[in-house]
């Protein structure tokens, strides 16, 4: 039995008479790359926010990295990484300052940050640009830096919310190669995307429709079940069932 990093059981979030997430149930193992798909308004963000300890469920249970999402939200925040489409880097701080800031927020010692930073800058070929403002970096570099910072404190799991929007096709692929390497180090990756070819890179994929998980399997398994040649076709068949339109 592999170690479970996410254990989610009938997780529900209701806003007045609107059920944004409806009895969502699944588990994700250590080191797995898990793709979380759904049309706009299907409830992806609602589920992600609950798993990051930012929003209380109405009912159901979930453990993230072994911590309970009702009463251990602070522990959860320490043991997860998060990267949104907007990257959360400070544009008017330098590369080094951004790394130091986030390392400090996650409670790493100065010595530890310094040592890890040297290595990271080398890996990203950013050593020469370490004292430059993030604002001046090309988009693709910012994206790689943001991801590296999100896993700098070696979290159990990293949440990526549409991380590859708007970058060129080579950078997009290099980014997924970083994701592969990360999962090989044992960090679980939980990612949303609108690029259906990226869904193919995941070990397993869940598709949300109207607050519920409508389909969940490996990309190959989904293609067989829904008789589609690509994940794009699968997504179209599954997500078209949606009745509601929201954001």
């Amino acid at each position: 039995m592999p170690e479970l990093v996410l254990e989610i059981d009938k997780l529900t979030k209701q806003f007045e008479d609107f059920v944004a997430a409806d009895a969502v149930t699944f588990t994700v193992s250590k080191g797995e790359i898990f793709g979380f798909l759904g049309a706009n308004g299907a409830g992806k963000t609602t589920v992600m926010r609950m798993l990051c300890g930012l929003s209380m469920p109405t009912s159901g249970s979930a453990k993230v990295a072994g911590f309970d999402i009702y009463n251990q939200t602070e522990e959860i925040k320490k043991h997860i990484g998060y990267m949104s489409q907007k990257f959360c880097l400070y544009e008017d701080l330098t590369v080094k300052e951004n790394i130091t800031l986030y390392g400090g927020i996650y409670g790493l010692s100065s010595a530890h940050i310094k040592e890890k930073m040297e290595k990271l800058l080398k890996e990203l070929s950013l050593t020469e640009d370490a004292n430059k403002l993030v604002r001046g970096l090309p988009l693709g570099w910012k994206q790689k830096l943001a991801f590296s910072i999100a896993i700098f404190h070696e979290p159990k799991i990293v949440f990526l919310d549409e991380p590859t929007g708007g970058v060129d096709p080579i950078t997009r692929r290099q980014f997924w190669e970083m994701i592969y390497e990360t999962s090989r180090k044992g960090i679980t990756v939980f990612a949303t995307t609108h690029y259906m070819d990226e869904a193919e890179y995941c070990n397993r994929v869940a598709i949300m429709v109207d607050g519920k998980i409508e389909a969940m399997d490996s990309p190959d398994g989904l293609k067989k079940t829904y008789n589609g040649k690509t994940m794009d076709e699968v997504f179209y068949v599954v997500a078209r069932k949606a009745k509601r339109q929201a954001d």
């Binding site: 759904g38 049309a39 706009n40 308004g41 489409q85 070929s125 403002l133 604002r135 001046g136 090309p138 988009l139 693709g140 570099w141 790689k144 549409e162 929007g165 708007g166 970058v167 060129d168 096709p169 080579i170 950078t171 692929r173 290099q174 997924w176 190669e177 592969y180 090989r184 609108h194 690029y195 259906m196 070819d197 990226e198 869904a199 193919e200 890179y201 990309p219 190959d220 690509t230 994940m231 794009d232 997504f235 179209y236 997500a239 078209r240 949606a242 339109q245 929201a246 954001d247």
Partner: protein, 316 residues
Amino acid sequence: MATIVVEHISKSYTNDKKTQIGISDLSFTVNKGEIFGLIGPDGAGKTTLIRILTTLLLADSGTASVDGNDVVKDYKAIRNNIGYMPGRFSLYQDLSVEENLNFFATAFKTTVEENYELIKDIYVQIEPFKTRRAGKLSGGMKQKLALCCALVHKPSVLFLDEPTTGVDAISRREFWDMLKRLKTQGITILVSTPYMDEANLCDRIALIQGGKILVIDSPEEIKHNYKHALWAIKTEDMFKSLIDLRTFNSTLSCFSFGDVHHLSVKDNITTKEDILNFLKEKGHTEIDVQPISANIEDCFMELMTKTNTSNTLVNA
């Protein structure tokens, strides 16, 4: 006949006392009734170009015209005759759906009724929410309302700046269906997008990166002109085979494409057997190697590596 003519247009910005190229010496034409796609990542210069053509920004040099009207001299005429949907939602959030539409009709001295035929297909989808404030609409509905407002005065040319960014795969498909219907009404459409798969839905495209045009042609021609032999490869361990294939003697580049790798090779003498043998030697199993033709992303990646206009790390 060319509806949009762009000749040697350049524009640079000053940022932190450093001059950055927005777009550099762009030239192309868009024919009447064509869907023309500007395809490229963020920062390629798509918005800059659209803002110049919609008379919202002045170019540093070069000339451009829309429907025979010069973007500088005849800016008023252009503004009356085009529809523009900016990348960021720019309708009045605190006006209702109906009020927004009426406002734009009035601003163009027309009425919703006068050109209702043009927007009918799209408007009926948001009509049930016509009293709702625009700010309270979902992303997909905002997009449809914005398109209605851009069309309400029956423009001859429609400029759409990344209309499908951040929109899910299903809404994207619906949006392109709407564009195809508009095309049949004779409207010329210039649309920008970072999604390479949307290139195939355009009549002609410009692939754009770092302020420069990599190529302009029909999607079919661009794909047809891809020079190298290309193989789709599957193995049991996809990540390891990706790394291994990059060390193969004949490899030009190797990238993941969904459930397969695309391997382009330097020569035309490398055979399927050569690739199979290489992978077997590296210990791979469940190997599948198939010859394929290039898609737009293959072409874009090849062109951006070759012309090196990229501002990304190309080390793969």
